[in-house]
Symmetry: C2
Subunit: 634 residues, 2 copies
């Protein structure tokens, strides 16, 4: 199994590093549970669907030279196979399960058999009966697919070393560099992803040509080299403005975020502070004005895109699961580059309220979009067929555009790598989960911790220093921005207040620390510029956004009629839910009249009752329902 | 010129009829001015663009047998030529201008030359180098185009009688009936329009086969005969549910509304009350829950579609101009079928705030979408090239998808036909405009009125009965629903209050009536279920919705910072604008922080100043601006 304890997805230059996949082991809890479900259920689920739909067989047909005729799936279906391989690679590193490795190796053999002699690898283009190579850079997703192949190879080479997948990826990357490198075709892909794939494979293999090619792709964007499809604008794929000149993310959210992640990689590898500052500036503006309470990004179904500043409609929130994954990728890179706690704060928010929201509790169905309000009960999905996308209301087993399930799978399989960072003799706990941490410090020796917590159900995090070098070492604990009133009991002292940011402690073997994060339910108010939720309030508890779901209302009361009484106390329930007093019942409008009138509408009769708010990430688990995160204030 | 005084677009069976285009003559004023600009400027503008882009030449190429190679425009570009012909037909009937007729006849000759021997007529399908006839019913728009041809022919046959256009349309309709009639292909068009074209041509030519074919098309919808394009649902083109079973409009708004109009035609012609009731029910629900304050319909850019109940975001309101035109078409048909005043009320709202909003004051640029909030200044449009669509901020001279300009043109050219209705010895003034009305009463004799008014700038409407038969005749005046406090001075009496609905007066020659509609500015509040504008209020004046535009704010004050003080009086300005006191200035959020926090935001310092609100239909005439109809309450 894994000889590469410090294997991790992102390894920029610099002293600050994330945890190796072998350095953190989760023991149950929120994320441990999700990892287990992913391992036990989702990985096989993804493979089964891709076999059933013939997406894997597309590789076999290229290998057999039988590509004429119908090819199932979209032009980007190869990428799903690659993301699954990446997930399997991290999962094998996590557990050493031979079945996982066998599943991966079988897939890799079929992928490898489809590679052309010159390294080109794609099942949609470049073979008999298919369009020619690179004939549709704007929409073809060829380089996008290659980027995911390279990310999968990065996972593999860092966890088991050079193998067939790595060889395949190296040849594919070389082909891309020959085709698009200096003196070659001055093109780029409509969907960013190749940039970060090349940059990371360049790091993993010590191949500066890949970094340089990533840099070229980043620099080519925003110069009008892509021809937008009919009725699309250049902003859709971020070709409207050079990356280093843009002030905010715009257009297709996943594209914008993959591009930003690749740009950070390039900036860090080439020492391009101007480019790094551009992405930081874009993060600032976009998080301030284009990001949902859940951390979700993407305000528009149209173009699956970012909206304008302050355009954050809860009902039409797109908040694609993949955009959540991509946002984590960007924030992680920025955190490693800068050490800023804000990036880790946003990661926590996004992990709990976007990434964890997508998979159904059995790991066999997923949300594609993650709206903050569901106006009509979600239609039942078809359990045995593809659904277009799961855009709201009910998770679907598989989609026509099925980018999210495999993206969730690879993120969950590597989640623990984002929980801890190390810099010299300082170790930082970024995310809280019960488990064991055993980190090789840069200056020698190991720091071994046992973390005990029921987080996020409970805010107490106990950290036991099982082993530490004799010299002074530092442990830092992230105090989330929401954690007003947090306390930390340092070794041998009673609890003292700690402010949001970093709580730093010099630790020695045998020490025990207790961090108490306040998880009493709290009201969260929107900035008045977020027009769409004016007059509303949300309820949060720890890192969890809560929501009101129709299945928790008294019979016959529509969700539209509910008002929250903000003067009444919020009562925490043991199961993570929260009870609140609401005022119910609005008058019905006259039928067939416009919903606008000469006076403010009465707020209805004051039937008061207690209702439960439940964690958003678990909504829609009890049958079709309506739901809202922001509830109007009584 | 016009021998057909009573020519009108919609002539259902029954005693209740609209005004003939020769029965009402506008003299200046709001709509008279728009008609003049349309005649003088927009018609030629549309023709010039379609010549420049080669959309008219597509017909020439079919005639010449040179269709191989590139064909400019979308698959539905023929329909723009037909709508322009329809506009020219109504315009020629209105004024008798020979240049208008010559323009029409020249276009008709070129269209006629492209007709196949069997009557088929389309420049995108069915010829050398083009896809075969009816090979893409879901997206091809062939029958949609034909429907517009038939509507143009209806205008022509009723205003000048049988001519080449009518012959072309008859042969095209016959071909459709042969192809899709009983025993033929059981197909239908993805974009409704053929239904109402066939129904009206059937009425105009006394051809029941056309009515029957329209009925078949209406009945075929909602049975899954259309295959949705990738990522589309059947609801997009209303194929999810039979028309008579649906409760609300859904999917693509223009499609839904053209279909509803055709369904009313079929229902009325066949005495199908169940079908009529279905459309009335859909109108009720959709007007109550899916319609903007402006009368605009279509809440989503995605699919250019209706949203769910109460989903009415102002910033992402699509409110396509064509949907406004189509809504007028539906309401007019329902009004003729039922006499209900509510339909005329909605028509007024839509005329002033959607149809009149689209054209720039010079008639040479148009809005495609009509949002109620503009968050960022509209980008400059390209004056000499197609723009994708004019979706917000700046009117564009022409669009890639240019359905709106010609739709506005045909509506303006025939606007006066919707202003009056007649039933036996009762005449009703539905819309108010200065001009002359000379109506042939069904029971013989003429009722001649002179209407004097500066409506909507002023609410006084004076009606002089210039001539009337000696027997008792009745004049009815519509009192709009918003006109709380209206008074009517009947002949020889002082003003008395009249309630919204119909004010009925027995009139005789020489009588003068004065209707006073209150046009003082008023506050209009949204139903609390319209989440997107909670805590906001709009200002209206008579039938006009007003808006706050950034160019009217003090320098440096962002529109987002403005709050309306609803306790301060609204002051009417002479130019139709309204002054109001507002509270300004919000605190800035911390950069890079999520826009959500632990307490309600302070509303900022209370800089108070007067600002002007201007009629919505004239916004964006003073350079790029931001704008909002619903303003947060202080």
């Amino acid at each position: 199994m894994n000889n590469h304890t410090t294997a991790r997805p992102v390894v920029p230059p610099g002293t600050h590093r994330g945890a190796g996949t072998g350095e953190v082991r989760l023991v149950g809890g929120f994320w441990g549970g999700l990892q287990e479900t992913n391992a036990r259920s989702s990985l096989r689920h993804c493979l089964d669907w891709m076999e059933k739909l013939g997406w894997v067989a597309s590789f076999d047909r290229v290998a057999a030279g039988t590509t004429a005729g119908h090819r199932p799936g979209w032009q980007f279906s190869d990428s799903e196979v690659y993301k699954l391989i990446e997930a399997l690679a991290w999962e094998y590193a996590r557990t050493g399960d031979p079945g996982t490795d066998a599943m991966l190796q079988d897939l890799v053999r079929r992928v490898a058999a489809a590679q052309d002699p010159d390294g080109y690898l794609n099942t949609c283009f470049g073979h008999v009966g298919r369009p020619g190579r690179y004939t549709d850079l704007a929409s073809g997703h060829e380089l996008y697919c290659t980027g995911h192949l390279l990310q999968a190879a990065v996972a593999r080479v860092r966890t088991v070393g050079e193998d067939l997948l790595v060889e395949v990826a190296r040849r594919a990357a070389d082909q891309v560099c020959r085709e698009f490198g200096p003196g070659g075709r001055e093109g780029l892909c409509g969907h960013p992803e190749i940039e970060l794939g090349l940059a990371e494979l360049g790091r993993a293999l010590g191949e500066p040509r890949y970094t340089e090619q990533a840099r070229l792709f980043v620099e080519r964007r925003g110069r009008g080299l892509l021809v937008p499809p009919p009725l699309q604008s250049a902003a859709y794929f971020q070709d409207d403005q050079p990356v280093r000149e843009a002030d905010a993310w715009r257009g297709h959210a996943v594209r914008a975020l993959y591009l930003a992640a690749g740009a950070v990689d390039v900036a860090v590898d080439t020492g391009d502070d101007d480019l790094l500052d551009a992405v930081r500036r874009q993060w600032d503006r976009s998080v301030e004005r284009r990001t949902y309470l859940t951390g979700g990004m993407g305000s528009r179904h149209q173009d699956e895109g970012f909206g304008d500043d302050w355009e954050l409609p809860p009902d039409r929130a797109y908040c694609e699961t993949c955009a959540g994954v991509a946002s984590v990728m960007v924030s992680w890179r920025l955190h490693l580059a800068t050490g800023d706690v804000r990036y880790a704060d946003l990661m926590e928010r996004t992990f709990y309220n976007v990434v964890a929201t997508s998979p159904r509790s059995d790991g066999q169905a997923f949300f594609y979009a993650n709206p903050l309000q569901q106006r009509v009960e979600g239609a039942d999905v078809r359990p045995d067929a593809e659904n277009p996308r799961a855009e709201g209301g009910v998770r679907a087993p598989w989609f026509d555009v099925s980018c999210c399930p495999t993206n969730v799978a690879r993120t969950l399989a590597s989640w623990h790598a984002y929980a801890v960072s190390v810099d010299g003799d300082t170790m930082t706990l970024l995310q809280y989960a019960a488990g064991d941490v055993r980190v090789a410090l840069d200056d020698g020796g190991e720091l071994v911790l046992r973390v005990s917590t029921a987080y996020p159900a409970d805010g107490r995090v106990a950290v036991e220093v099982v082993a530490a070098p004799a010299r002074p070492v530092t442990l830092r604990l992230r105090v989330p921005r929401w954690a007003d009133g947090a306390t930390l009991a340092r070794p041998g002292t009673s609890p003292e207040p700690v402010a949001p940011g970093w709580a730093e402690v010099a630790v020695a073997e045998g020490d025990t620390l207790t961090l108490d994060l306040p998880t009493a339910p709290r009201l969260t108010w929107p900035d008045p510029r977020v027009d769409a939720v004016r007059g509303c309030v949300a309820v949060e508890r720890g890192p969890l956004v809560l929501c009101l779901e129709s299945v928790d209302l008294p019979d016959g009361v529509p969700l539209d009629d509910v008002r929250l009484d903000v003067t009444a106390p919020l009562t925490a329930a043991d199961d993570g839910a929260v009870a609140q007093v609401v005022v119910l019942a609005l008058p019905d409008p006259m039928s067939g009249r416009p919903p606008y009138g000469p006076g403010p509408s009465a707020s209805g009769t004051g039937l008061r009752t207690e209702v439960r708010l439940v964690p958003y990430h678990r909504w829609a688990e009890r049958g079709p329902s309506t739901m809202r995160v922001f509830v109007p204030v009584a």
